[in-house]
Every structure is written in structure tokens, then in C-alpha cells.
């Protein structure tokens, strides 16, 4: 008893609301007021274990255990479940006997969880006890969570309201631009036709003004439509497409304008650029088209060059760089930052040139590039031309890449080409019919008209036409229904049907193609675009004159694949030896026809999940292609057939990817045939 000075229990109780003292026999000899309040039975001086169950320390059966746990936290719960204490042991003396005192307070956390109805008071905790502070903390934390929940709910509600308003606005914009495009269709077409009439200088000047103004108005409307489309970005899906073909289509559309201004229009493809890419083809096409049109517009002499190169990346992921370079006036460095802002034009304020446009194209370009995950910039000096470039991340969908190549559109394109054949033009709008017919006739094509779906179907089935231009919105039944009825009798190969619609949406296009149509054109009819589309399906009069019936009129595509990748000449030579040169053309034509039929069957089988049909046609096609030396596509098909047989998963988009290789393979075959 000499090694410590006893502490009066009263002092202890001032510092600790819970004080429980027990002697060497583990009998409780003293308890503080708070303990008496909640556990009156301590008055009878019971054994500690008659009142409490001990959680910590791990063992507290003897006085010695307590002496060994002086530095530990003690947690005890009353056996009746109505009270709990937490504290620490202290050695003291009571009536000259050595005792141990548990000094602490009610175990608030345990009690609030296990006996919340027992109401503790502030006076059950000494001033220095931090447990109530914890309680306050817990309360505030709960409140902060509530704050967050409330704010989140408010934000969600606001967001939902905004999204709804935004949707309504988007629909309104889309509808308005659609409504504006339809009458503008008439204006643009009429002006286009007037331009070919004989006019005096004053009239031509006024017509030029009307033409550029209506072009600008069309550009603004398209801008609004494009923005609406971008709002639908989340609904767009990437597709697999033929990159060189897409680039060539840019040349096709812009070639005539370049020719008009005597500009050289060149496409350069660097080696390693993948042939078959995955991405948003329509945005890429629109971006390049805008940049190219701009370049042509602001270049008076020299050239416009579109170039695609591979920047970096390991297959299949890679980064491509597209650039459009012109030899135009260039852009002053102070203007470079502003050039991508809406309504910026190359003309200084107050000197509004009729051909300067609305300044909306580059804004769309920038938005498109950013949407596609790329970045864009320009390099330009006044007087030295400009290069607009952007990079574009993509995934190569086949191992085929293009070899270095340069296509000079102005050397090979002939915008004066006349087409021939007979077209059925179906539209319920009389103005559209008159203007459309005039434009079609100006291309050298005979045209008949139908005023509604019924007339269109009757004409298409009873008379011979080389193509139908089908309006989508007609009063009795729409163009899709008309197409469905025609397709019951005439397949896509027999009678091509091209949609003609004011709705410039990718979805609309998908709907048309999915509905059995072969192509898609938007109103107003642009002569060059119409010619490009018709050129895919109708023979050109030049071709007829030359008396050459080509399997593929797309001569631009030459060299975009290396034939050696696609074609095994040994197999072909062996075939030639066996059947003789004279029979080669006939046999290969039959092979091509058979392949075409099998391909159609394959696509149909795939569309209705006919696995056996898919497998059968894949097998036949593989065999057909390999027999004439088209080993690349044949091997691909064989590999797919193997996977189908074993139930292994075939990669998504295999059919689309294969379609491109198949087409290129047939072209390669045709080229080989031409050499013989």
C-alpha cells in the first residue's frame, strides 16, 4: 500500500461519471451515482461477473487479470442488457484494502444501438468525456449525408427538366429545319435550272445573288440539322466502313466544283492506312467534305489536296491524320484563333462577299472532330495557302492496308459524263416532280413520274425502269411500303430503288437501306450528288459507246488494295490452263454471278438467324472464291466456317468486314481478267 497515494472516490467521480471498484475477491465495493441510477442492484455488493459480461480485456476472471490490464480499454455490458460501460482500470485503496477502480462513462455507442430507449442524460458524462462529442459528430455526419441527398435529388430533378426541355427544343429545331428544307428544295433546284438558261448580264448577276443566298440559307439550315444530330450523338453507333471508298466519295462530290475553277484535286493515301476502319463514317465524311468544299471555295488557282496518313499505333488500334491543303489566300495568324467560331468568315466585316458562306462549316467540323475523339488545327500563312488537319483514332477491322497512292481527281473525273437509262421518279409534290424530272433529264436519263405510292408500285411492276427514285413521305402509303411491295416481285439486283427524302438523318438512311432500298439521297436534289448516285446503278453513255461492259465501273478504286494480297496468280494460271483463255470470261462471269447469289443468300440467312443457312453459304462462297484464286477472301470464309462449326464466337461485324474484302477481291479478279 505504500507505492501509491489513494485517490478519494469523490474526486474520481468528478472526472469519471462511471466508477466501479472491486476488491481482490472481485466483489464490487463501490459504484458511482450514474451506475446506481441504471443498475440499482450494485447496492448489494455483488461479484463483478454477477452484474457484467466483460468484452475487453479478453480475460477478467481474477484480480490478477485486472492488474495485468491496467493499460487496456475495458468494455463491459450489463447482463440485463440495459447498461454498458467503457473505461480504464486504476489501482486504489478502500478501507486500507487494495482495490481496482474501473473509471469511465456509459458506453454511449453500445447503448444507443442496443437499448436506445434508455435515455442517458448530459450529466451522465463528465465534462471532459468525448463520447458526447462523438454523438454530435454522428448527428452532423447524418445531416451532411441528408444535405447531399437533398442536393442530389434537386440536381436530378433539374437535370431531368432540362433534358426534357432540350429534347423538345431539339425536336423543334429538327422539325423546323425539315420544314424549311422542303420549300428551299424548290428554290435551289429552280435556280439551278435557270442558271443553264440564256440570261443577260444583269439577270445572271441577280441569279448569282439568289443562288449564293439560297446556298447560304441551306447551309444555315443544315447547320441546325447537324447540331440536332449531334445532340443525338449518344444514339449513334460506330460502323465498319471502307476508308478509301469514303475518301473517293469526297472527290466524287467535290470534283465538279474543282473542275469548274480549274483546280487540281488530289487524294493521297499514305502506306499503312487501314482499308477497313471502325468509326463514325458519316461524321468523318461530313468533316472532310466541309474542309474540302471550303478549300475549293477559297482557292482561285492551284490545287486542293486531301491526305490521309497513319500517325502511330499498333494494330488494330491506330491514329490517322487527315489534312486538306489548299493553295489559296491563306489566313492571317490573328484570325487563326477565331476561325472555328460560328459565323466567322474569311471576309472582313462590311465587305460581305456573296461567296463567303455563313461561316458555320468550320464550327461543325471542330465539333465533329472533338466528338470523334480527335483534335484539329490549322497551319496557314497569308498568301501561302492553308492546311487544316485533324487526327482521328480508329480501329483497323482487317489486316489489309493501302499502299502509297495518289489519285488526281481532275485527271480522271469527267463531270460532263452523261448517263443513260430510264428512271421512275415518285413524289407527291408537283414542284419536286417537275424540277426533279428536269434535272434527271439534263443528265441524259429518260424519266417518268408517279404521284403517290400506288402509282409508283404499279409503274415499277408493269413497266421497265433501270431505277426508281422514291420519295419517302407520300399520302396513300409511304416510300418504304411502296418499296416493300415492289421487292415482293423485283429484287434489289433487278431494280435499284434510291430513297429521296428531306430527312437528312443517318437513322433515316438506315431505315431506307434496311427497308430494301439500294441508296439514299437527300432533298434538295444536288445535280452532282444525283449523278454520283445514279452512276452507281446506271450505265454511262460513254461506256456504251466504248462498248465495254465492265463488272465494276468504279475505276478510281484501282490499287487501293494490292492485288497480290487478295489474289493467288498460280491458282488462276492453272485454271486458265485447264479451261482455256477463250472460256475464261464466260466462266468467271458465271462464278461472279454464283458468288453474288450466294452472298445474297448468306446475308438473308444471317438476317433471320438461320445458322445452317449461314454455314452452308459461307462454305459455298469459300469454295467458289478459292477455285479462281481469290485466296484471301476464301481463307477468311473458311476460317469463319470453322468457327461456326465448332460453335466458337465469330467477331462482331464479320459480315460487313467480309463484304468489303469480297468486293475488292472481285475487283481484283476483274482487273486480272482485263489483262488477259
Amino acid at each position: 500500500m505504500s507505492d501509491f497515494a489513494p485517490i478519494a472516490f469523490g474526486d474520481l467521480q468528478r472526472l469519471f461519471s462511471v466508477v466501479i471498484s472491486f476488491d481482490e475477491s472481485m466483489r464490487i465495493v463501490y459504484a458511482s451515482d450514474t451506475v446506481h441510477t441504471y443498475l440499482p442492484e450494485v447496492k448489494k455488493c455483488p461479484q463483478l461477473n454477477e452484474i457484467f459480461s466483460v468484452l475487453r480485456p479478453g480475460k477478467l476472471e481474477t484480480f490478477a487479470h485486472a492488474l495485468n490490464s491496467l493499460d487496456s480499454l475495458c468494455l463491459m455490458t450489463a447482463l440485463n442488457g440495459r447498461f454498458a460501460v467503457r473505461g480504464q482500470f486504476l489501482v486504489d485503496s478502500f478501507n486500507d484494502e487494495k482495490v481496482i477502480c474501473l473509471c469511465g462513462s456509459p458506453w454511449l455507442f453500445w447503448m444507443s444501438s442496443n437499448c436506445p430507449d434508455v435515455r442517458l442524460s448530459l450529466s451522465d458524462f463528465s465534462a471532459q468525456d468525448v463520447q458526447l462529442d462523438q454523438l454530435f459528430f454522428m448527428t452532423t455526419e447524418k445531416q451532411m449525408v441528408e444535405d447531399l441527398e437533398n442536393l442530389t435529388a434537386e440536381l436530378t430533378e433539374t437535370k431531368n427538366t432540362l433534358v426534357k426541355a432540350h429534347d423538345a427544343q431539339r425536336r423543334f429545331f429538327a422539325q423546323m429545319s425539315h420544314e424549311m428544307r422542303t420549300p428551299l428544295n424548290g428554290v435551289v433546284s429552280a435556280i439551278g435550272l435557270l442558271e443553264s438558261q440564256s440570261l443577260d448580264q444583269k439577270q445572271r448577276q441577280l441569279l448569282g445573288l439568289a443562288s449564293s443566298s439560297s446556298d447560304n440559307l441551306m447551309e444555315v439550315i443544315n447547320y441546325v440539322l447537324d447540331l440536332s444530330k449531334m445532340e443525338l450523338a449518344g444514339e449513334e453507333r460506330d460502323s465498319i466502313f471502307d476508308l478509301p471508298q469514303l475518301l473517293r466519295s469526297i472527290l466524287d462530290i467535290t470534283g465538279a466544283k474543282a473542275k469548274e475553277k480549274s483546280l487540281e484535286l488530289v487524294l493521297k493515301l499514305g502506306s499503312g492506312v487501314p482499308h477497313c476502319c471502325s468509326g463514325n463514317a458519316s461524321r468523318l465524311r461530313q468533316t472532310l467534305l466541309n474542309l474540302t468544299m471550303n478549300a475549293i471555295k477559297f482557292t482561285d488557282k492551284g490545287s486542293v489536296t486531301i491526305e490521309a496518313v497513319k500517325l502511330s499505333g499498333e494494330d488494330p488500334n491506330c491514329l490517322l491524320k487527315f489534312s486538306v491543303t489548299d493553295t489559296g489566300a491563306g489566313i492571317a495568324s490573328v484570325e487563326k484563333d477565331r476561325i472555328f467560331e460560328p459565323f466567322w468568315t474569311a471576309q472582313p466585316e462590311g465587305l460581305d462577299h456573296p461567296d463567303s458562306g455563313t461561316g458555320l462549316g468550320l464550327d461543325i467540323v471542330r465539333r465533329n472532330v472533338e466528338y470523334m475523339g480527335g483534335k484539329m488545327d490549322l497551319k496557314s500563312e497569308l498568301g501561302s495557302g492553308s492546311t487544316f488537319w485533324f487526327d482521328w483514332p480508329t480501329t483497323a477491322e482487317s489486316a489489309l492496308t493501302v499502299a502509297d497512292m495518289t489519285v488526281d481527281k481532275t485527271q480522271i473525273a469527267d463531270p460532263g459524263t452523261k448517263l443513260s437509262g430510264k428512271i421512275l421518279l415518285a413524289d407527291d409534290n408537283e414542284t419536286n416532280l417537275i424540277l426533279g424530272a428536269m434535272i434527271i433529264e439534263s443528265l441524259g436519263v429518260e424519266v417518268a413520274t408517279a404521284h403517290n405510292g400506288t402509282e409508283a408500285v404499279a409503274a415499277a411492276l408493269n413497266d421497265h425502269y433501270d431505277l426508281v427514285l422514291m420519295d419517302i413521305h407520300m399520302p396513300d402509303f409511304d416510300g418504304l411500303e411502296a418499296t416493300r411491295r415492289i421487292r415482293e416481285m423485283k429484287a434489289t439486283e433487278v431494280l435499284p430503288i434510291v430513297a429521296l427524302t428531306a430527312l437528312a438523318y443517318e437513322k433515316e438512311k438506315e431505315r431506307c437501306i434496311g427497308g430494301g432500298m439500294n441508296g439514299y439521297l437527300t432533298k434538295p436534289i444536288v445535280r452532282q450528288e444525283l449523278m454520283n448516285e445514279l452512276g452507281k446503278w446506271l450505265p454511262s453513255s460513254n461506256q456504251l459507246l466504248a462498248g465495254k461492259n465492265s463488272m465494276n465501273s468504279d475505276s478510281d478504286s484501282r490499287d487501293s488494295y494490292l492485288d497480290v494480297d487478295l489474289f493467288d496468280s498460280d491458282v488462276f494460271e492453272e485454271l486458265k490452263r485447264q479451261i482455256g483463255v477463250d472460256n475464261l470470261e464466260t466462266v468467271l462471269a458465271k462464278v461472279a454471278a454464283e458468288a453474288s447469289q450466294r452472298w445474297t443468300d448468306l446475308v438473308a440467312a444471317d438476317a433471320c438467324d438461320d445458322e445452317a443457312g449461314v454455314q452452308r453459304n459461307v462454305h459455298s462462297l469459300s469454295s467458289i472464291f478459292r477455285s479462281v484464286g481469290l485466296m484471301h477472301v476464301g481463307d477468311k470464309l473458311a476460317s469463319i466456317e470453322g468457327k461456326l462449326r465448332t460453335g466458337e464466337k465469330v467477331e462482331d461485324g464479320w459480315l460487313e468486314s467480309l463484304a468489303i474484302i469480297k468486293t475488292e477481291s472481285l475487283k481484283a479478279l476483274e482487273r486480272t481478267l482485263a489483262k488477259h
Binding site: 435515455r119 442524460s121 448530459l122 462529442d133 454530435f136 448527428t139 445531416q143 441528408e146
Partner: protein
């Protein structure tokens, strides 16, 4: 003052007078935020602006608004948000007031910018002198509401027999002589 006070004022106006009135109060006050974080300390001036705006919009004296708010704070906000602490603070009004300083001490140790008021009670028979000491000015009516709300919490009506503002260098020292009448 902490955001919880401003939120409570907002809730009271919402509940008693509707959302439009709250939007008017907000607009008149010029306070930019419509939401307050409960545990963030805001400038006192913001709370005063809201109270004055409420008085203007509701067409009632600012003292009446503050008193209503004091009652609302005790009976609604504190009961809902600090239920356990309120329960622990006492079983009758006088015990509650005597524990109030203890409670405020604890909050001060956790929330370092917290400037709490102090309450002292002198009792003689049925009348009590409640001292309210604060470093703030202009909240006496709010305290009247608090005291009435507390009395109601413990089943009494509070009758203020006398109210005396003592002369102090800074803030407020007011003595309320009150009587508690069982309801």
C-alpha cells in the same frame, strides 16, 4: 452562423407559407444560394438579410418573424436533427437550460468558429430569471421564440413577466423574468 440555421428558416417559410413565398424572400434578400450546407459556416449577415426579407415579404414585423423562427427551431429542426442530444439535455426546461452551456461547450470544441450564446437561470419559487448572453446583437426575439418553444416541448406555456436589456460593451445581455404555466 451555420447553414443549418438558414436551412431551417427556409424550411419554415416553405412549410408555413409555400414555395413561392420562399422564392420571393430569396429574391428580396439578394442571397444567391437556394441551398445551404448544414455544417458550413455562413456570414451572419446572410441570415439577417433572409430574416429581414421574410419580414418584408410576409408583411410582419421582423421581431415576430424571428420569434416564430425560434419556436420552429426548437420544435421542428432541433427535434428532428438533434433528437438524441435534445433528449439527453434534460427532462424539463430548467434542467435543459442548465445543460445548454455544457452542450455548447462541446460543440465549441469541435466546430472551431462556433460562437455560442450562454444561458444562466436564477430561480425563486415559481419565477425564473433567465440570462441570455451573446456576442451577437439583434436576436432577442429569436431567443424569446426558443424559450417559448422549449417550454412547449416540456408541456408548459411561457409567460414573460419582465424583459430587461443590460448595458454591455459588445453583443447582448438580456434577462427574462418568466413563469412556466402547465398547459
Amino acid at each position: 452562423m451555420y447553414g443549418v440555421i438558414n436551412n431551417s428558416l427556409k424550411e419554415m417559410i416553405y412549410e408555413k407559407f409555400g414555395e413561392d413565398k420562399w422564392q420571393q424572400v430569396l429574391s428580396v434578400s439578394g442571397v444567391p444560394d437556394d441551398s445551404f450546407l448544414s455544417m458550413r459556416s455562413y456570414d451572419d449577415a446572410l441570415t439577417y438579410r433572409l430574416a429581414n426579407a421574410a419580414s418584408e415579404v410576409l408583411g410582419a414585423p421582423v421581431d415576430a418573424c424571428l420569434e416564430m423562427f425560434g419556436e420552429y427551431w426548437v420544435l421542428e429542426t432541433a427535434t428532428k436533427s438533434y433528437g438524441m442530444l435534445m433528449d439527453a439535455a434534460g427532462n424539463d426546461m430548467l434542467e435543459f437550460l442548465s445543460n445548454m452551456n455544457n452542450l455548447h461547450d462541446r460543440i465549441t470544441s469541435t466546430f472551431l468558429n462556433y460562437v455560442p450564446p450562454e444561458f444562466f437561470v436564477e430561480s425563486t419559487n415559481n419565477t425564473h430569471k433567465i440570462h441570455y448572453v451573446s456576442q451577437r446583437k439583434g436576436l432577442i426575439s429569436f431567443v424569446v421564440g426558443l424559450l417559448k418553444g422549449l417550454a412547449a416541448r416540456f408541456g408548459h406555456d411561457l409567460i414573460i413577466l419582465d424583459q430587461c436589456d443590460l448595458d454591455v460593451d459588445k453583443g447582448t445581455h438580456t434577462v427574462f423574468q418568466v413563469e412556466l404555466v402547465p398547459k
